[in-house]
């Protein structure tokens, strides 16, 4: 599959794009900005992963873009769906988009379903709003949807309530509700975080299957790079309200070009390879009302130099379809490439690159 370079003018306009999108929360008299101008595009049928730690703005961005955060969230910039700006839409127009063109699923499926309404009623609501189906036709379609998301014994499940189903089944119901509007894109906000490992595998497989059948696009928001790597064509890494790196998944995992991404990968324990001591990223994420000047990651960055504190780094090309927002990008890329060349004998690029901090240390020792 081809991944157009973000920002390039391809033949087809992107399905969904954010342009200079910001989110701030009203707090007392003032506002605290939590998302600081994001540009992202999603091509038709593409799967985009958004990864980052809590508070980086990965969920807030998409919820605010669809005005799901209430009046306290103030946004600027544009949200384009098929070239039309959603921020100019009325509530009624936006309601047609939500659950229609864009389906959403969330983290805790059981609390996301209305506790006192039957599963069938909740699917039926989406069918009525977006497909105009009622009565027998709606019931037939709801049964088909439950079957599609792999729920056995669908006629009985339609009459049940969320508390009678397991978490995994409720997430399948949420997916069925999202599919009811035949969306062009599914925005999935930590869809498997609350689920057990074997259930998570089921849900990831289901989403993959549905995408294969329908060509539906996917925005997968997760803290888990493993989950993102499993489903996504392209990844955007967010830190402190900004995108710091974006690239095709294999490219980003194989040769990360931002110190934060490299830090995240080195901090992950793994099931494979030799057991080595983890290399954590020191310090903690800055709070939105106490952001450091310049690059927000600089205070935690092993490669930071004095000038990293001056001015916000912008995303710049770091390879084919690869962007990274680091002021020391050129210098570091040379360094990392030399390392990679030296280690070319190793076949697994991920493990190879994951070892980078250790190798730095070895080099220092041998020098």
């Amino acid at each position: 599959m081809l991944h157009p370079v973000p920002g390039s003018t391809g033949a087809a306009p992107p399905l969904l794009s954010l342009e200079d999108f910001t989110v701030a929360f009203a707090q007392g008299a003032g506002r605290t900005r939590v998302v600081h101008g994001i540009d992202l595009t999603l091509q038709r049928g593409e799967a985009l992963g958004i990864v980052g730690e809590s508070g980086c703005g990965k969920s807030v961005t998409w919820l605010a873009a669809l005005r799901l955060l209430g009046k306290r969230a103030v946004t600027t910039g544009r949200v384009l769906l098929n070239g039309r700006d959603l921020s100019g839409f009325s509530e009624r127009e936006l309601a047609d988009v939500r659950g229609g063109r864009i389906g959403l699923i969330f983290q805790d499926p059981t609390s996301c379903l209305n506790p006192i309404l039957r599963i069938g009623t909740q699917i039926g609501e989406a069918l009525r709003l977006h497909r105009g189906l009622t009565g027998k036709a709606a019931e037939r379609e709801a049964l088909r949807l439950l079957d599609r998301v792999g729920i056995a014994d669908a006629p009985r499940r339609l009459r049940q309530h969320a508390h009678e189903l397991s978490g995994g089944m409720n997430q399948r119901v949420m997916i069925a509700i999202a599919l009811a509007g035949e969306p062009d894109v599914l925005v999935a906000d930590e869809p498997t975080t609350a689920l057990d490992a074997t259930i998570q595998a089921q849900i990831l497989d289901l989403i993959r299957d549905i995408r294969r059948d329908t060509g539906m696009g996917l925005v997968l928001i997760s803290h888990d790079l493993g989950v993102i790597a499993d489903l996504c064509d392209r990844v955007a890494v967010m830190y402190a309200g900004r995108v710091v790196e974006t690239a095709a998944t294999q490219d980003l995992l194989g040769s990360p070009r931002h110190p934060y991404t490299r830090g995240l990968l080195a901090a992950l324990p793994s099931l494979e390879g030799p057991r080595v001591r983890l290399t954590p990223v020191g310090g903690t994420v800055p709070s939105p009302d106490a952001m450091p000047p310049g690059c927000a990651f600089a205070p935690r960055c092993a490669y930071a130099e004095a000038h990293c504190g001056n001015g916000i780094p912008v995303l710049q090309p770091a390879g084919t379809g690869h962007l990274s927002a680091c002021r020391r990008l050129d210098a570091l890329m040379g360094e990392w490439q030399r390392q990679a060349a030296r280690e070319a004998g190793r076949h697994d690029p991920v493990v190879q690159d994951l070892d980078w901090p250790n190798r730095d240390r070895q080099r220092e020792l041998s020098a």
Binding site: E53, S54, S166, G168, M169, D196, A197, T198, I199, Q200, A201, Q202, L204, D205, H223, D224, L225, G226, V227, A229, D230, T249, Q250, L253, G263, L264, L265, A266, A267, L268, P269, S270, L271, E272, G273, R275, R277, L278, T279, P280, V281, G282, T284, V285, R300, D348, V350, V351
Partner: protein, 328 residues
């Protein structure tokens, strides 16, 4: 040498009332055996409802077992809250998932680290309680300036460090960690994992490390037990167990973990949910979801037995080795 912790045939069941008022038994833990040597780490993994957290509470004597025997440093552990229980609690501590819930928001974190010393009336040694607490602050990587802060003024990672300092202030021999890093972000989680390893190297306590995260358990444990529906289904050294799982459940669990490394790995996706512990399937509890189940799996409970050197598995399909060939 006797092990620090010896758990034999441990079971815990709850009475639950059914829809028509009839009584059922929920077997949360159903015949668990393991030992843990001083200074070592046993990881317990499994999905929610497998009984791993109940096992932790039973080991600490926080709730009574319905069957079985727990021996800690040669002495039996009971859930009767007498002086013996309190004396034993000093030597075994617990660290939870949510550090904010574990801390009292009205007290400074410093006071909370000193508190166990005062409760247990410990003044012995050359250090004052405050000096001892400050030394532990240093050990867990907290600056002394944090001593006067309140829990809500700290980050998640710092709070978990406070909880660790409080657990270690009494110099315990065993620390039971129940999902200690699940609530933490990736970069901070790595800090705490390293810290747990450093502290063990320095103070020499044993960890009973409960987690749903196989990668974290592999990182930290000397031995791993995989639980399913209240029983251990496989046990062994982490690398052996995760790289060449013997039990089909372990195999599926390992393959279910999405990793950044191997994208096109064949994944075993189990059908359905884990069964309700109230109506545990006959025979091997895993057989309804097992891709390889045969007739015997539906009728007979497989015992946990040696299947290779240092490895136990409870599966009819894995040939057992005799004790002699295992030793050879």
């Amino acid at each position: 040498m006797t092990p620090l912790l010896n758990v034999r045939d441990l079971a815990c069941r709850y009475r639950v009332t059914g829809k028509r008022g009839e009584t059922h038994w929920l077997h949360a833990v159903d015949g668990v055996n393991f030992t843990l040597d001083a200074g070592r780490t046993l990881g317990v993994v499994g999905e929610s409802g497998c009984g791993k957290s109940t096992t932790a509470k039973l080991v600490l004597g926080l709730q009574p077992a319905s069957r079985g025997r727990i021996t800690f440093a040669g002495e039996p552990v009971s859930a009767t809250r007498d002086s013996h229980w309190r004396a034993m609690r000093r030597r075994m501590q617990m660290v939870h998932q949510d550090p904010l819930a574990a801390l009292d928001r009205r007290l400074t974190v410093g006071e909370q680290v000193i508190e166990p010393l005062i409760i247990h009336g410990l003044k012995g040694g050359p250090q004052t309680p405050r000096e001892r607490a400050l030394a532990l602050f240093d050990a867990v990587g907290l600056r002394a300036a944090m001593f006067e802060r309140y829990p809500h003024e700290l980050s998640g990672g710092q709070r978990q460090r406070v909880v660790l300092a409080r657990a270690l202030v009494l110099d315990p021999e065993l620390v039971v960690c129940d999902e200690p890093i699940s609530a933490l972000d990736v970069s901070v989680a790595a800090q705490v994992i390293n810290l747990l390893q450093d502290l063990q190297g320095r103070f020499g306590m044993a960890y009973l490390f409960i987690s749903h995260d196989l990668k974290v358990v592999r990182q930290i444990a000397d031995e791993v037990a995989v639980m399913y529906l209240g029983r251990i289904v496989e046990q062994g050294a982490p690398d052996d167990l995760f790289h060449t799982p013997a039990h089909p459940y372990t195999e599926a669990l390992v393959s279910a973990i999405p990793t950044v490394g191997q994208r096109d790995r064949k994944r075993i996706v189990l059908a359905g949910d884990p069964p309700n512990p109230v109506d545990r399937p006959a025979g091997c509890a895993f057989h309804p979801r097992c891709p390889r189940a045969t007739a015997i799996c539906r009728s007979e409970v497989p015992p946990l037995r040696p299947v290779a050197e240092g490895r136990l598995a409870a599966c009819h399909l894995v040939p057992a080795v005799s004790a002699r060939s295992a030793a050879a």
